[in-house]
Symmetry: C2
Subunit: 260 residues, 2 copies
């Protein structure tokens, strides 16, 4: 008797027609039965948003031959929740992969990224999960250099599983950089310096566009930003326990005076 083929849930945040998800589902088809549930429109920067005050649409679509695909009107996290509750219901997928995102999700971008939040949601649901992102924002990004990595990292996770409460945040260098290898990293500290661009609308009211540049504060050689900048694929084991465990003891020494 042969082993049952694994079931793989593929999601993203750039939308169901993005080239990045096509590359990912093609590689996953070599590993198992693929089901795609992805937003019907781009959802970049949606973080861990969920739709609690509006109804959701979920429609089966036929885009790539031989792949079960659904488009969803909600956020990337909604897609994972709908997949688990409405599409799989009585089974749990063996793997949840998200991406490949057009653009990096290293450092604190793990928080803003819909791609990573979908993978985080997969992990919360108890599914081994991976988010993949490429250093190329353009719609015509070239993913050819990362195909073997998508396959290899996903098959390792299918084989080994992941430590409890852990998922992977994988970022790839741009095609113009020769990949030197894989580095297991920690999330670099940093932040965005926003410069909201002020404009005036045709009705003379002002509005703002968010723009900004990422400021890399933490130059540690064990960080994901360092790895990408030096031509490595970065893998950050990521968790959804946000407790600052080291601070609990210090906080216990505080005294809260309630006489107001």
């Amino acid at each position: 008797m042969t082993k049952k083929k694994p079931t793989i849930l593929v999601v993203n945040d750039d939308g169901i027609t993005a080239p990045g998800i096509k590359v990912l589902l093609e590689e996953m088809q070599k590993l198992g039965n693929v089901v795609v549930v992805a937003p019907d429109a781009p959802q970049s920067g949606m973080g861990h948003a969920i739709s609690i005050s509006k109804p959701l649409r979920l429609d089966k679509v036929d885009i790539y031959k031989g792949v079960e695909m659904y488009k969803c009107s909600g956020t990337p996290v909604d897609c994972v929740k709908l997949a688990v509750d409405r599409i799989f219901s009585d089974i749990k997928p063996d793997l949840c992969v998200s991406g490949v995102n057009h653009g990096l999700n290293y450092s604190i971008n793990v928080l803003y990224s819909g791609t990573m939040s979908a993978a985080v949601e997969g992990a919360i649901e108890g599914i081994p999960s991976i988010g993949f992102s490429l250093d190329d924002f353009s719609h015509s990004a070239d993913f050819s250099h990362i195909r073997s990595y998508l396959f290899s990292i996903a098959s390792q996770v299918l084989q080994n599983g992941l430590p409890k409460g852990t998922l992977l945040n994988v970022n790839f260098p741009h095609i113009e950089k020769e990949i030197k290898g894989i580095k297991i990293c920690r999330q670099a500290n940093g932040h965005w310096v926003e410069e909201f661009e002020q404009r005036t609308d045709p009705y003379k009211r002002e509005y703002f566009w968010m723009t900004g540049r990422y400021e890399w504060v933490d130059r540690g050689e064990d960080t994901d930003v360092f790895a990408i900048n030096h031509g490595y694929v970065s893998i950050v084991p990521t968790q959804f326990d946000m407790t600052a465990h080291h601070a609990i003891q210090e906080m216990n020494s505080w005294s809260f005076d309630l006489t107001d």
Copy 2:
């Protein structure tokens, strides 16, 4: 010479007219100069979403006497970013407080919550930050029993600061429970079991409403869920470094075979 009064940024996710933010700004006025920047409409469940593909409005409003207030068309995180870049620009607030949320944000709800994401964003910007939430979803929630805690916890943070990269997730029991004290906790593990309710619209197309119940998997007595269930105020020191540091060594033993 007297010490300069601290500047306090007040944000929320329930919107600028929510009763919870009124209670919070009133308590903060006893501690410093308050500036409110809050969404112009409810933004619950927005997580760490940011507006990158649409313009933002920011308008000064006059709601509560003597308080500088702005409503913003974006998400809770947008509010913090706009405040830092456009309203404060040359100074940094001494404190960022978010809430008081109508509804608990314990356990993994830290990820879905706009209230907590605004506080996380404050911390990323290097501002000591606190998110406050009450176990009462209703618009007419009674906040009177938590006023002295808001004041006391905020003044402690102004006095002591917070460990680097750390913010506080504070949850309060419902007014009908007598508060037994404060517990410093870790984030409980758990997840939502979704049951999407299927309906049919007037045009015969189906749609879904997200509903669900929180499943408390982790019964640890040191968790925030345990504290709230037993009548304590829970304070979880929270961080935005999502690295699963303990998993790095294990991951380093993996071998990635790239022969496809």
